[in-house]
């Protein structure tokens, strides 16, 4: 079973997000970038599936500019077997990403697609769902536990839902998106980082894959949340009631 795992290069989860003065987006100049944390979890799970004997090969895919090659290398250092880099400098929206991944899934004859549930930059939470739709495959999103039964050709996926845990049984091939508590991604070791360099990475373009990635959505503007005034400390419940009644006039 071949697992395709998608990884996205995003602004580091610790980095301070600054909106560009012209409100056209987030300023990514001189900002630390790294693999989307949910993608790391997806890679970890795919590598675990391989280590556990359920998967035979893990192919990591990234879509983005040349710099996204770093993210692919991180996935290879974590244990993916080879990489595919869809080289695109411009904006690639979730639907286009899903289409590109669908094309690659077919080309690579993958049986399982592992993705993060969302990327922490746009928080779109659409790609996995879109991919499953395009492929006509079953999907399990927000996975917190994945068990693959290779013989039966099925995957059992536990999801964290508001009321508790939900377990789905999917027929493979399928798409699974990773939630936070699925696993704790490993650190790549120094020797594996060096070995990653020797792993094969194919570079393709959307055009070569025959996918139209023209943006369908137009970004109107990006703004920082309004700054609010600091709160005040009140000394007693009495004072609180008084203020709410006479000052805020909400009771």
């Amino acid at each position: 079973m071949r697992v395709l795992v998608a990884v996205k290069r995003v602004i580091d989860y610790n980095a301070r997000v600054r909106v560009k003065p012209d409100k056209s987006g987030v300023d990514l100049k001189n900002v630390k970038m790294g693999m989307n944390p949910f993608c790391e979890i997806a890679v970890e799970e795919a590598v675990k599936l391989k280590e556990g004997g359920s998967a035979s090969e893990v192919v990591a895919v990234t879509i983005g500019p040349k710099a996204a090659g770093d993210t692919l290398r991180t996935a290879l250092a974590m244990g993916a077997d080879r990489g595919v880099h869809v080289l695109e400098d411009g904006e690639v929206q979730p639907l286009a990403v899903a289409k590109l991944l669908a094309a690659l899934t077919r080309r690579e004859e993958a049986t399982l697609c592992m993705l993060g549930k969302q990327a922490i930059d746009d928080d779109s939470n659409q790609t996995g769902q879109g991919l499953a739709g395009l492929l006509g495959w079953p999907q399990a999103t927000f996975a917190s536990k994945v068990v693959v039964d290779r013989e039966a050709g099925r995957a059992s996926v536990t999801r964290e839902v508001d009321g508790g845990l939900e377990t789905l049984s999917l027929k493979l091939p399928a798409v699974i998106t990773a939630d936070l508590r699925l696993n704790e991604p490993r650190y790549a070791t120094l020797p594996n980082i060096m070995k990653a360099k020797k792993k094969k990475v194919d570079t393709v373009t959307a055009q070569e894959l025959g996918v139209d990635i023209t943006p369908r959505l137009k970004l109107v503007k990006v703004e920082e949340p309004a700054k609010r005034q600091a709160g005040v400390m009140l000394s007693s419940v009495k004072e609180l009631v008084d203020r709410l009644r006479n000052e805020a006039k909400v009771i």
Binding site: D12, Y13, N14, A15, R16, K32, G34, P37, D70, R73, T74, A77, L180, R181, E184, Y187, A188, T189, L190, P191, I193, M194, A196, K197, P225, A226, K227, R228, A230, G231, V232, M233, V237, K238, L240, V241, L244, A248, V250, I251
Partner: protein
């Protein structure tokens, strides 16, 4: 219980869809939970609220808990990313349970805020200036990116940075306060390849260059200085065994040193010989196929916890040529350790005397030939100085980031400290000092990799410059934090204490000047 603000009161002008008389209490978004350090404190807070709720009800006001379901956010407490997620889930559960019992009612904050045209906001109310937390905050200032680093080196750097922030930084304060030597963390670090970095892969090493290692040590020490410094000494001894050891010694020790199953210390200094190391008195007397070692070593980092001791001892005449190097295993009869020294810093690793009273080792425990010991010890220190310089860089980088953040957030005279030109100039000087130190350290590492004739001088210069400048930087950072800098709650003082010794050990900075002058003479530079 500390009654500093735990959350930002949210007032809502529209009470649309709500019966009058409802009080909106506060948003318990995990952005705000940063003020609550543990579940116990959280329970305390809920108990206070429960009592307040009763009082409110008695005044005809219905108390309501507003719960922000944000979970995937950070808290300010000392926890890893994953822990933060789990904890915020636990906090939310406790709150939900609490709000299911009268007098409180639970409402979803986001829904209400949306109804009021507002949105969840991560700006927080602070009783004290926030503590810079490397595990969760970016390093905006300390990174003067070296564009000459290879992709590989950058990848090692990223990984070391993640490890430092997630595994070291959250624990540094506790290790310091409790004088804890964190063996598990050191083994975890070795599991990633940090145990024998510049040892080849045939014996389990990582096969990195000195430059790579310097970059890694810098990143690691951002999270914790003494643990990284201990690793650097362990790596130094591994380097000696690799370079000067017999094939048997390499096989016997290096694979286990790479995994940190065997930890190593370097023993040169004696009570009577510090800077004048060549005057050491410990003797190794040949006795048939063995040597018998007698004497004592002082100030040994890792003394009593390390498994293997590289001991310099006299086998011949006085002076440097009469010294040989030996590998002594812990447990050898006659080997004992002094008390753990009480120190200003470096508390996460013990420093003890190593006492040898007729310790018998086989001749094959000698490293190199007889009389080569001092040369080996000095060559090891060239690399050691790059490493210790790198450890200073990481500590200073942390303090620079902490100071810069503090300057932005702390307001006096109606504006952030960062608005005063004096602050800006100080930060500019700190960043410049760090940058210059970093260049010197990386250049010295490159000189070692290249086997350049200037390597010894470059290492001495880098160590002298970086350790002094970085210590001064930590002191400047402390000054910028004002009184808070003096408190242990703010980690700058710990980094300052930890960095102080770097100007003393692996050759004092005065001895660095002695070496630099000697090398200048030798190289015909003056």
């Amino acid at each position: 219980m500390d009654h500093s603000p735990k959350g930002e009161p949210t007032t809502c002008n529209s009470t649309q869809g709500w019966s009058p008389g409802v009080v909106i209490v506060t948003s318990f978004c995990s952005w705000h939970l940063g003020f609550i350090r543990d579940l116990e404190e959280w329970k305390d807070l809920l108990e206070t609220l429960r009592l307040a709720g009763k009082e409110l009800l008695s005044q005809g006001v219905h108390p309501v808990v507003l719960n922000c379901p944000h979970r995937i956010q950070w808290t300010d407490s000392n926890e890893t990313w994953a822990e933060a997620q789990l904890n915020s889930l636990r906090y939310n559960r406790l709150l939900t349970e609490f709000a299911q019992q009268p007098p409180w009612r639970l409402l979803n904050l986001h829904a209400l805020m949306a109804a009021c045209g507002n949105e969840c906001n991560k700006d927080r109310v602070h009783a004290r200036p926030p503590v810079y937390d490397a595990a969760v905050q970016p390093d905006d200032l300390s990174h003067s990116e070296d564009f000459s680093l290879s992709d590989d080196t950058l990848e090692f750097k990223r990984m070391a940075d993640a490890f430092a922030r997630q595994e070291l930084a959250p624990n540094g304060a506790a290790w310091d306060a409790g004088h804890i030597f964190p063996l598990d963390t050191i083994r975890a670090a070795a599991g990633l390849g940090f145990g024998a970095m510049y040892v080849p892969e045939d014996v389990g090493g990582s096969g990195l260059s000195r430059l790579d290692a310097a970059v890694v040590f810098e990143e690691l020490s951002y999270g914790d200085v003494p643990v990284t410094a201990y690793l650097s000494i362990h790596n130094m001894v591994a380097g000696v065994i690799d370079r000067y050891g017999t094939p048997q010694q390499r096989e016997m020790y290096l694979p286990r040193m790479a995994t940190a199953e065997v930890l190593a210390s370097y023993c040169l200094t004696e009570p009577g010989s510090g800077s004048d190391a060549a005057s050491l008195k410990t003797t190794a007397k040949r006795d048939g196929d063995d040597y018998v070692l007698t004497g004592s070593k002082a100030f040994i980092s890792g003394g009593s916890v390390s498994d293997l001791y590289l001991v310099m001892a006299r086998t011949g005449a006085p002076g440097p040529k009469g010294i040989s190097a030996f590998l002594v295993e812990k447990g050898a009869p006659g080997l004992s350790f002094g008390k753990r020294e009480e120190k200003l810093g470096w508390n996460a690793q013990p420093t003890t005397a190593v006492i040898m009273d007729g310790v018998r080792v086989p001749a094959r425990a000698r490293v190199g030939v007889e009389g080569q010991g001092f040369a080996i010890a000095m060559a090891a220190l060239d690399g050691g100085r790059v490493n210790i310089g790198a450890c200073s860089l990481g500590g200073a980088a942390f303090c620079l980031d902490a100071a810069a953040r503090h300057a932005r957030e702390r307001r006096q005279f109606g504006r952030p400290l960062a608005d005063f030109q004096a602050t800006q100039f100080r930060l500019a000087d700190m960043a410049t000092a760090l940058h210059a130190s970093r260049l010197a350290v990386r250049h010295a590492a490159r000189a070692l990799d290249a086997g350049a004739p200037q390597a010894t001088m470059a290492c001495a210069m880098a160590k002298r410059l970086a350790t002094d400048a970085c210590y001064d930087l930590t002191n400047d950072a402390l000054q910028l934090l004002g009184g808070y800098g003096y408190l242990k709650e703010y980690p700058v003082e710990r980094y300052m204490r930890d960095l102080r010794v770097h100007s003393i050990l692996e050759g004092t900075n005065e001895i660095m000047r002695v070496i630099i002058s000697r090398e200048l003479e030798r190289l015909g530079g003056v």
